[in-house]
């Protein structure tokens, strides 16, 4: 369907309170599922299913040198691969802007919520720190990849165990029972504006007809820790206020899946 026709059909349905796939207008898809430990080679891993969207995340841990301006802090790095296995629309090659944005939004949610105390990742001040390498890989893209990826990354961090260290070298074959101390659980919810309607968790087909979105990452006490507006249209302040309310409400549902 041409995108203009799709859009007018989409808005007509929304006016009747329905979504393209038959759901109620503000509903999240089911199932919302988190499976832990899907990769034994990762120090922590998880698979998130939201409707037909499936995303994997894995954490590898390495020992590295601290940044000169934060000699007593470890760090995280988030990468995302939108692999061609997961969608006819993804191509091989260096990360697309979509993948880069996704990784950075997930990174900001974890970093800025201070979910992880980076000081606890310091091994020896000025010399050795832990770096947590979080990688997101899409398995099947049926829309809403940012929310699914942020949830998968958080779940993989929850699943992670530090490997054993002997004489400064990591023995990846042996995991300790020490977990990452996660003091917050940042949940990303992207709210989309279509016509005068606000929706969450769109399918890949619905995403094609959507102009504007706002990703809102919040913690359990409803504190906002990251925002990302994207898309070609503008938002009013009232829009943003509505969208934040929706994000906080839906984050509760996603948090229950962890």
């Amino acid at each position: 369907m041409a995108s203009n026709e799709l859009k007018s059909h989409f808005i007509k349905l929304l006016n009747e309170g329905k979504r393209l796939d038959g759901r109620d207008i503000s509903e999240l898809r089911q199932p919302i599922k988190v499976e832990y430990g899907i990769s034994k080679t990762a120090e922590g891993s998880a698979k998130v299913t939201m409707g037909d969207t499936e995303v994997l995340a894995g954490v590898k841990m390495e020992i590295s040198e601290p940044y000169p301006d934060t000699p007593d802090q470890g760090t995280i790095m988030v990468g995302a691969e939108l692999i061609p296995l997961s969608s006819p629309e993804f191509e091989s090659g260096p990360p697309s802007i979509k993948a880069v944005e996704l990784a950075r939004v997930v990174d900001r949610g974890i970093r800025e919520s201070k979910a992880i105390d980076f000081r606890k990742l310091c091994i020896k001040k000025g010399e050795k720190i832990w770096i947590l390498l979080i990688d997101i890989v899409t398995l099947n893209d049926d829309g809403n990849l940012i929310d699914a990826s942020a949830l998968a990354a958080l779940a993989a961090l929850k699943d992670a165990k530090f490997p054993e260290v002997k004489d400064g070298a990591i023995d990846y074959k042996k995991k300790t029972d020490k977990s990452i101390d996660l003091v917050k659980e940042p949940i990303a919810v992207t709210v989309f504006k279509v016509g005068n309607h606000f929706i969450v968790d769109p399918t890949r087909e619905e995403e094609k007809a959507i102009g504007t979105r706002l990703t809102i990452t919040t913690t359990k006490n409803n504190l906002i820790c990251a925002l990302q507006k994207s898309g070609d249209s503008s938002l009013t302040q009232e829009d943003i206020s509505r969208m934040i309310d929706i994000a906080i409400e839906k984050a509760k549902i996603l948090r229950e899946a962890l």
Binding site: S39, I83, P84
Partner: protein, 237 residues
């Protein structure tokens, strides 16, 4: 000390535990999952579809394009850098050659069949697991095929011939080791993938291949069973 008993107590011709499933990626035209021991492979097939760049067009038949890739967290050591390194490129190429003989792409001029293999977790034998998954995914995509392709690594550890080597066997240091990834077309026993590193005599190599064929037939049964689970008509055997 010679290698008399396998480190994980398997018999010489005993494969690691396997799992196979067809139709695991909804967006794909065909897909499959194959797990052997701690090595897991997803494969997705897209196509036949339009081929870009256009200079690759073949007006007489369609082409097969394979891509093998390890996920960043799938290695047992440090993070694997994403993107195709030299090893992944070579494995992609030999995978393509291993699968091509069973396909007939004459009906699809100027088109491509894309096969993407992705591994979330590896512990030896990953190219063979990828080929097993890919051949099931091609069948799931409904392409005309003369057979499936079944693959396993065989080899020697010291004086013992073994199938489906794991890491500890590949890294055995007290004697010579040879690691031989092998793919066959089970209906005819023809060989479509053969590589080796290590050292071995001609006689031992031929014995190893013979052993590998038997294992491939075991794998073949598991592949067929997974396909039948998806496509079986109720009440039909």
């Amino acid at each position: 000390m010679s290698y008399k008993k396998r480190l994980d107590n398997r018999k010489p011709d005993e494969l690691r535990k396997m799992e196979a499933k067809v139709g695991v990626i909804k967006n794909a035209d065909g897909s499959a999952y194959f797990k052997i021991g701690n090595t897991c492979a997803y494969a997705a097939v897209y196509g036949p579809r339009e081929l870009y760049p256009r200079f690759l067009h073949n007006p007489s038949k369609g082409i097969l394009r394979c891509s093998y890739s390890m996920m960043p967290f799938s290695g047992s050591g440090n993070r694997v850098r994403p993107g195709q390194n030299r090893r992944a490129k070579e494995i992609s190429m030999v995978t393509e050659k291993a699968l091509l003989p069973v396909l007939n792409l004459d009906e699809y001029p100027n088109s491509v069949v894309d096969v993407f293999i992705e591994l979330p977790q590896t512990e030896a034998g990953s190219r063979c697991a990828g080929i097993c998954a890919a051949s099931m995914a091609l069948a799931d995509a409904g392409l005309v095929m003369s057979d499936l392709v079944s693959a396993v690594s065989v080899g020697r550890v010291d004086d013992m011939l073994v199938v489906d080597l794991d890491y500890s066997e590949e890294a055995y240091e007290d004697g010579p080791v040879a690691d031989i990834p092998l793919a066959i077309l089970p209906r005819t026993d023809e060989i479509t993938l053969l590589q080796m590193d290590g050292e071995i005599t001609k006689e031992m190599l031929l014995d190893a291949i013979e052993l590998g064929k038997k294992s491939c037939h075991e794998i073949y049964e598991i592949q067929k069973k997974a396909l039948k689970e998806k496509y079986a008509v109720k009440g039909d055997e």
